[in-house]
């Protein structure tokens, strides 16, 4: 009989540890060496997806991610920006599920060097990041909070979707990153934002009840390996555990602050179930007033209701994932959650 080893899950409570066989572990070690990863990562991929899909993931992370931009209708019409960029030789292809998102081939031009960029006609932004704001879809005149706002891609996108009506409260803790947040807000012609520096875990002390909250949570970045190969070896399970703990705390305060009937989108740029499905599953247990609801745009694949063989809340299939080997994009998790009207 094959010996099986425990692979520690950061959410482990004794019942949801990952079981990995000796052969699988040996194979994972070989793959880790071949692709330059820490072995614990590959072990998780093999258990999560099986060996063949894990290899597809590893190969996909060796390929560059295509550049993408969001056309900013606060500064120019879609038609005007398209026409100007095409005249400069930029090749553009619309992302089917996004109103203003395009895959952009700038060829030898630096995307940040064009006048249209300086004037805020477009924002260089990953497709999954654009999808996050579209998944929240804040309505005009709403009160919105962006809990981890720098460098401002999602804040400026939401302000664009609301046509500068309502208020977007953009919170960022890092002093240097607030500079990029402010700069992008100004460049993109956003006039409906209030930028606050501070720890979003204290949002409830602000005394506001937002209609919408976007929590693109600080995470281990395990979905960004194609963009940052150093991530193959830079984070341990302890780092993932640390992120998950912070994500729990951010979600709790977000839900306490959210207006009854309000909507929250939780997202991470991590493919780790430990920072995604497990975090949301725990949340649903802690906060019965919250429920996962469908996202009204079609993208990605459903999130996992039983990652590593651990049965989680079935409604997790309403959340969505982007995976590098399935979508040629950064790995992302996006979940839309609503608070009961009567809570």
């Amino acid at each position: 009989m094959e010996r099986r080893h425990w692979c520690l899950n950061p959410r482990a409570n004794g019942s949801d540890r990952i079981l990995i066989g000796k052969e699988q572990r040996k194979r994972a070690k070989e793959l880790a060496k071949q692709y330059g990863y820490l072995p614990y990562m590959i072990e998780r991929y093999v258990v999560l997806w099986g060996e063949q899909e894990a290899i597809q993931f590893l190969k996909a992370c060796e390929r560059p991610i295509k550049k993408s931009i969001r056309l900013n209708t606060l500064r120019a019409t879609v038609e005007e920006t398209l026409s100007r960029l095409k005249a400069k030789g930029v090749r553009l292809k619309k992302v089917p599920w996004l109103e203003t998102g395009y895959i952009a081939d700038f060829r030898r031009i630096s995307p940040g060097s064009l006048l249209e960029h300086m004037r805020g006609f477009y924002y260089v932004q990953g497709v999954p990041s654009m999808t996050v704001a579209e998944a929240l879809s804040p309505q005009p005149d709403s009160l919105v909070v962006d809990m981890a706002a720098a460098p401002g891609g999602k804040t400026t996108h939401m302000a664009q979707m609301m046509n500068n009506s309502g208020v977007v409260v953009s919170i960022e803790q890092d002093r240097l990153r607030t500079a990029s947040l402010e700069s992008n807000i100004h460049r993109c012609g956003v006039t409906s934002s209030i930028v606050l520096r501070g720890d979003s875990r204290k949002l409830d002390q602000l005394g506001i009840a937002p209609d919408y909250i976007l929590l693109d949570a600080p995470c281990s970045g395990e979905g960004l390996i194609a963009l940052d190969p150093s991530r193959k070896r830079s984070k341990s399970m302890a780092d993932i555990r640390f992120c998950a703990t912070k994500q729990d705390a951010l979600l709790d305060v977000a839900i306490s602050s959210l207006a009854p009937g309000g909507t929250l989108v939780y997202s991470t740029c991590s493919i780790a179930p430990e920072e995604n499905e497990f975090v949301i599953d725990d949340l649903l247990k802690r906060r019965p007033e919250m429920k996962i609801v469908p996202i009204n745009i079609e993208f990605g694949i459903p999130a996992y209701p039983n990652p590593y063989g651990v049965e989680l809340h079935e409604s997790l299939t309403l959340a969505r994932r982007f995976l590098p080997h399935k979508h040629d994009l950064e790995g992302f998790f996006i979940c839309r959650i609503e608070k009961e009207e009567s809570s």
Binding site: L115, M118, S180, H186, S193, L196, D199, K202
Partner: protein, 180 residues
């Protein structure tokens, strides 16, 4: 630190400087139905324009957060001198004739932080005088920033092509340079 209603003495200084730089009544026209508020920043005070219905939000104590900006950033008052912000330039430009249109090369150079030389000048109102602030526009009349004339406009034709005409005060390339 929280946003406050503007101090009337300080606001008078702001209004006087904008109106004297760009024409009487320009401040009022930029303001429209918006309300000015102020926020201490470094050694100076930043001014912002917000819708009147924001005042109830701004009445709260923002602790434990620090407000950094809100609404439309109008500019900063430091040691009695007011500097218009970059994002508000386009709004102000609509109400003034202090305009300097530059060539394609001049426009590109200006967005890299350079000043305007005689060879880049396409069009300027000859009544503008040395020291006056002028909006720099490209050949498509797009606002690229603000500069201070270093020579009376009617004398520009007498200059050699490599002589300074307007000193760069702020340009839209700042958005990119600031992040690099």
């Amino acid at each position: 630190m929280k946003p406050e209603h503007v101090d009337m003495v300080q606001w008078d200084m702001v209004r006087n400087q904008i109106d004297s730089d760009f024409g009487a009544g320009v401040t009022k026209r930029i303001l429209g139905s918006l309300t000015p508020v102020s926020l201490p920043r470094g050694k100076g005070i930043s001014f912002y324009l917000v819708p009147p219905n924001w005042l109830q939000i701004l009445d709260r104590d923002f602790k434990p957060f620090t407000p950094l900006s809100l609404g439309i950033w109008l500019g900063d008052l430091v040691e009695g001198k007011f500097r218009l912000s970059l994002p508000v330039l386009e709004r102000v430009q609509e109400f003034t004739s202090n305009l300097l249109i530059v060539s394609r090369q001049g426009a590109e150079s200006f967005t890299y932080g350079r000043s305007i030389l005689k060879e880049s000048v396409n069009k300027i109102d000859p009544s503008l005088l040395r020291g006056q602030k002028v909006f720099i526009l490209n050949e498509s009349n797009e606002c690229l920033g603000l500069a201070a004339l270093s020579v009376d406009a009617y004398k520009i034709n007498r200059l050699a092509k490599d002589r300074l005409v307007a000193k760069n005060l702020v340009d839209i390339g700042w958005y990119i340079r600031r992040l690099s």
